[in-house]
Symmetry: C3
Subunit: 325 residues, 3 copies
């Protein structure tokens, strides 16, 4: 859960009392400059962090952060080294403070700064017609970008990577020798918001999408960037057409993901996993290494390493076959 | 089931005997001018209507229409105030007459009249590169339209609405403060036709798509316009990526529809409904208010208000969980 | 399983000893020129072929090919008329030799030769804005191609065919009076490769996509071309939005395929088949004629003619309904 984005501009000169004010809480500590917001594991000394679940007690022991946004019910878990900031809704408060640091992260539907590539800046890239490239985009050697594709400002592309036609990439780091097929949309904000009867409230997505070397992304895929962590596709992982990967998902190396599969937010998957067509992976589920998931499965619970499952909900493959003879 | 479209040009000077001729039926009544075709509830005095199912007996009692296309088996249900027109295939006949009134409604795959936006006509809209705008399009204040997007002639867009890249919109009314993500296709004709061994026969789609205020449409969504009624998405309803919504579907307010969900034609859904990823809703099914549908469900029957369901086919959530422990 | 492609340039002057060398096998026969590689049924006298499964014993009896790539375990099945070439991995070897004949077949992500259509070459076609057309494309009379669509070099389009906006077509033969809706991607290579821990190895896709007369392809469909045979859609077959059709799939005439259905590689389907929304068809499965498949089904076994099935996995419809009352 690393909150960091090399692309979004972070606002400087945020002070602790700005944070209290933004949370509508009376300042409880002496004012000081705060460098950013981060999760417990990754935060530095001058960053603020948060504690929202008993699952993260181990992280509390190692965090360098002092100021912790949390709920008063967790009071006893924070020793006297911490300076807790008590709020009613922890995640909403984290969203508010993230927005305070990254005021542009909510509103990036279209990058109007893009223009046709200046060839002298990209001597080693072959461009199709009508390509649009944002400012500060970096593209490696021996690369190509197909017709009508849009590479927005916040993108880095490695060497030997090929991008098809009608592709849209934003807020992403693409590795070397990656292939991205036609019509894929990579790096837009995820489906994360606080429901509200009159007007839902979007939370900031400051994570990015990272795609490892030698991987392949299929046609018309949608891979959303993370909210409070990155969406990560490992190396040498091949993904078929019409796959949807939601925000914060982590997929390992050497995976094979067949057509029309969907990953809900924050699901995790190890290495060497094969996922059959049209399978769905629920949010926050963890799938181990060397797992095989049969086509059409619905995975709603964690799956240990080396398992072979199928079904909705998914179960051991032998049981599925026995029950469906 | 309102048959009306503010965009398609309706042919004037259609007379009752033209209708009889088009249906290959001998004229049974005195000739007179007919203003259009409409469903029972919405038709005015000089419009023709139709009765094709016992489900619509109540509508028969209130309709203002006199001339009713129907089958002779329903003869007893129509009292002497009506002038029934008996046909073999009611829906095919309705399609024929709809086509008679809207001869351009079958053939709108591409709007060749579009051109780059004239900036003096759209002073309050920010346009990306290569945007194409049709004639008579209306776009509100504080709006933006992303690169390569196409807004065809028959579209009205409200204030504060943002449209992403590579979006295609036709035959639609989009509300205020709506967000439409990249690659969505909105308002094309639905998957409605009469199968025929040599050459299927398309029926006219004269409905439109209506999207309410503050709603959000995900990437690569496909939302088809209605055939004999409108496709409607309510207000503050958020839809994730790769969702398919067929013709005539009605979705209420404050709904949350997760990735890769599919709605078959003419399904209806109330307010405050949550639909988990990859769920499918069968045609003509009615889902009440405040319903929660678990991911991967297949809904083939109506669901009453306040239900919590999951499974294929969907059942009460507690039963689903009990059976799948 | 016909290996042939009218579009990819076949390398001439390949000799038998080149093939042995490419397979890393010591030449066992006298050198001679070889015209190509083909499956048993379709190969001519001077083409090489392969035998990789007992399922193809009948084809062995009729093939005109003499040189057969196979495994030593099949030694007894090949009589003395054949000149077998023994390898460890038959399909990998076939991929190697296919690549030897079609060295450009692996690398066609983007056709950089396309340009705006020269109107004097396509007098009978109506073009939208920003259309890109490859070299040697043939387009019939009374056709239209919508805005931003790309028709790559290796495409033939029949008379009366209409293509929507943002469509991408490559390596395909499209019949007469076909409709292809917006955003469809037709003819890219399939999801076929040999998994390898460090770097998966793609095999060549030298098949094409063939679409029959009067058929309709929905929005955002992805139809991949074949690897060692063609992907075929019959005549008067209508396909709804967001359908995925993998490499080598054969679909018959007069089929109706509803939204979000997926076909895995090499599945076959007869004529007059109806497939309900979100159904999935497993790889290599055969579905007969006049079959009805209910929405959401997962078809993992062959289905005989005139069946009516539903469920995951699919079973007789009556049983499905009885078990799910």
């Amino acid at each position: 859960m690393k909150i960091s984005n090399p692309f979004f501009k972070k606002k400087k000169n945020i002070y602790l009392h700005d944070i209290f004010q933004s949370l509508n809480v009376k300042p409880a500590y002496k004012n000081q400059k705060i460098d950013g917001i981060n999760d417990l594991s990754n935060s530095s000394k001058n960053e603020i962090s948060f504690f929202n679940s008993l699952k993260y007690q181990n992280e509390l022991k190692v965090t360098k952060s002092k100021y912790i946004i949390t709920h008063v019910k967790y009071k006893k878990l924070l020793d006297s080294n911490f300076s807790p900031i008590y709020v009613e809704n922890i995640l909403k408060s984290v969203a508010n403070i993230t927005y305070l640091f990254y005021p542009n992260s909510l509103d990036d539907l279209v990058d109007f700064s893009v223009s046709n590539p200046k060839k002298h800046l990209f001597k080693n890239t072959k461009f199709g017609k009508n390509v649009l490239i944002g400012k500060s985009v970096k593209i490696g050697k021996k690369t190509c970008i197909g017709h009508n594709s849009i590479i927005e400002s916040n993108v880095i592309i490695g060497d030997g990577t090929e991008i098809g036609n009608n592709v849209l990439i934003k807020n992403s780091i693409i590795g070397n020798n990656v292939k991205i097929q036609d019509g894929a949309v990579i790096g837009k904000n995820g489906f994360g918001f606080f429901p509200n009867q009159k007007k839902n409230k979007r939370y900031p997505h400051v994570g990015i999408v990272i795609i490892g070397d030698h991987s392949e992304i299929g046609c018309n895929n949608t891979i959303d960037r993370g909210s409070i962590s990155n969406t990560i596709i490992g190396s040498n992982t091949f993904i078929d057409n019409q796959v949807h990967i939601a925000h914060n998902v982590k997929i390992g190396n050497n995976c094979i993901i067949t057509g029309q599969v969907g990953f809900a937010g924050s699901s995790k998957m190890g290495n060497n996993v094969q996922v059959g067509g049209q399978s769905g992976i629920s949010g926050h589920v963890k799938i181990g290494n060397n797992v095989k998931i049969g086509g059409g499965s619905g995975v709603i619970k964690n799956i240990p390493d080396n398992s072979n499952v199928m079904g909705y909900p998914s179960k051991d493959l032998r049981n599925f076959l026995k029950e469906n003879k």
